[in-house]
Assembly symmetry: C2
Homo-oligomer: 248 residues x 2
């Protein structure tokens, strides 16, 4: 495997009309299944959406991001304890997995599986985009995909052959992320250095201007990820988890 | 990229003495950074452990799994809102990220980054093993690695050149995991079919016998992932999250 392919990957939001065969899709799932999973429990399921009406129905849950309707395939990756619990019940075992650690375990399994799927897909020339909106509006997604108790939608991926070739997106310098032996707390000078390149990018200056803010950080706190939204969507998702059988 | 490499990957628990250069390690982190991240916030940090004393100190937190002391490198992947919050504070922005959704966002970023790192490492001939114990015993890990508030250890990976060539591990058939258009609830017959191969494996028969149980499912519910442990470790981790600044 060529790691430069991983290094130069890009998120793709615009897809061609070319369809994705079921054979290829299944091969990618098969590959992704071999990623690590806790105790080999495979606490995940995926719902594949190809039907146009279903995409239209899912779209508002993802704030009408255009990829939901334009991508040939939408994948909803779900943390799934339902299948495992059913297995336990049919085998005279007493499952008790409605707790926080079990939810986390299923979450880790699901995200690792989703990411391995994305890498496999990209290696076959497909483009992907994660939608973080899945945990904001879980209830309509649960309804549309008929998810039973103990199944939680956690990540959505839009998938298709690329019809764009966007620029590489900046990342923080490694020194801002890696700590040797123990965590070095960041000084003001460290933060200045770590964020210097990002803050210097013309597109980010434009971003600040368009949002009428003084700093890029304010675009994040006041516009993109606000206190009110975070708290509202936290409550929504905790309520949903409870209703689906995870109570903490 | 050759997807068969992903398909035939294996978790490696036994490592040779060969060291991992800092140059290679940094290249792998650099590559992994280009995996998807929410709003390009990169809400993660990694602490690299090479020091023998630090490994000895971390070992009990991972229930003394032998890889912690025998692997040349231990990586603790942390959900990190500390760096982002410091940046906001130094830029006249008001960060409010101690909520559940923000924790989830950082968790997704961290797991995606960790998994992409593992794939990059495997593509360079290294072997990896995830330790799910990280969220069971977060407090000693936080102490040893000096993690500040808003930084949570979520996954640990042991890393080294393989000194074993284990058999491929079984996975459930795809039909047990993939749902087209909506989730089909599993019948008893479905569950029988999905788990048939796993339940027929000689190593699982041995597993049942060794644990003096009647079914494989009982080994999971009564021995490996018990109600008492799940609930105890749920409380521990929720308490830790609160102490580290995430309150929900």
């Amino acid at each position: 495997m060529e790691i430069n392919e991983l290094k130069y990957r890009k998120t793709i939001r615009k897809y061609s009309n070319r369809d994705i065969s079921e054979k290829l899709l299944n091969e990618l799932f098969e590959v992704a299944c071999h990623a690590s999973t806790t105790g080999n429990m495979q606490l995940y399921s995926v719902v594949v959406t190809r039907d146009v009406e279903k995409k239209v129905a899912l779209s508002p849950a993802h704030f009408n991001q255009k990829m939901v309707k334009s991508a040939p395939v939408i994948l909803t990756f779900c943390a799934d304890f339902n299948r495992f619990i059913k297995w336990c019940e049919f085998r005279s075992a007493k499952p008790e997995y409605g707790n926080f650690q079990s939810f986390l375990t299923a979450l880790f399994d699901t995200v690792i599986f989703a990411q391995q799927f994305c890498t496999a897909a990209e290696s076959e020339g497909l483009g992907i985009c994660y939608l973080g909106t899945t945990t904001y509006n879980p209830d309509p997604i649960i309804d549309i995909l008929k998810l039973p108790k103990m199944v939680i939608p956690v990540l959505t991926v839009t998938l298709g052959y690329p019809d764009e070739n966007p620029q590489m997106v900046d990342r923080l310098p490694l020194c801002g992320i890696i700590h040797n032996e123990y965590y070095r707390e960041y000084s003001r000078n460290d933060i200045d250095n770590i964020y210097k390149y990002k803050e210097g990018l013309p597109e980010n200056h434009k971003f600040i201007e368009e949002n009428d803010k003084a700093t890029l950080a304010q675009v994040f706190t006041d516009v993109r990820y606000t206190k009110d939204n975070n708290e509202f969507f936290s409550k929504t998702f905790l309520d949903t988890l409870k209703r689906q059988g995870f109570n903490f």
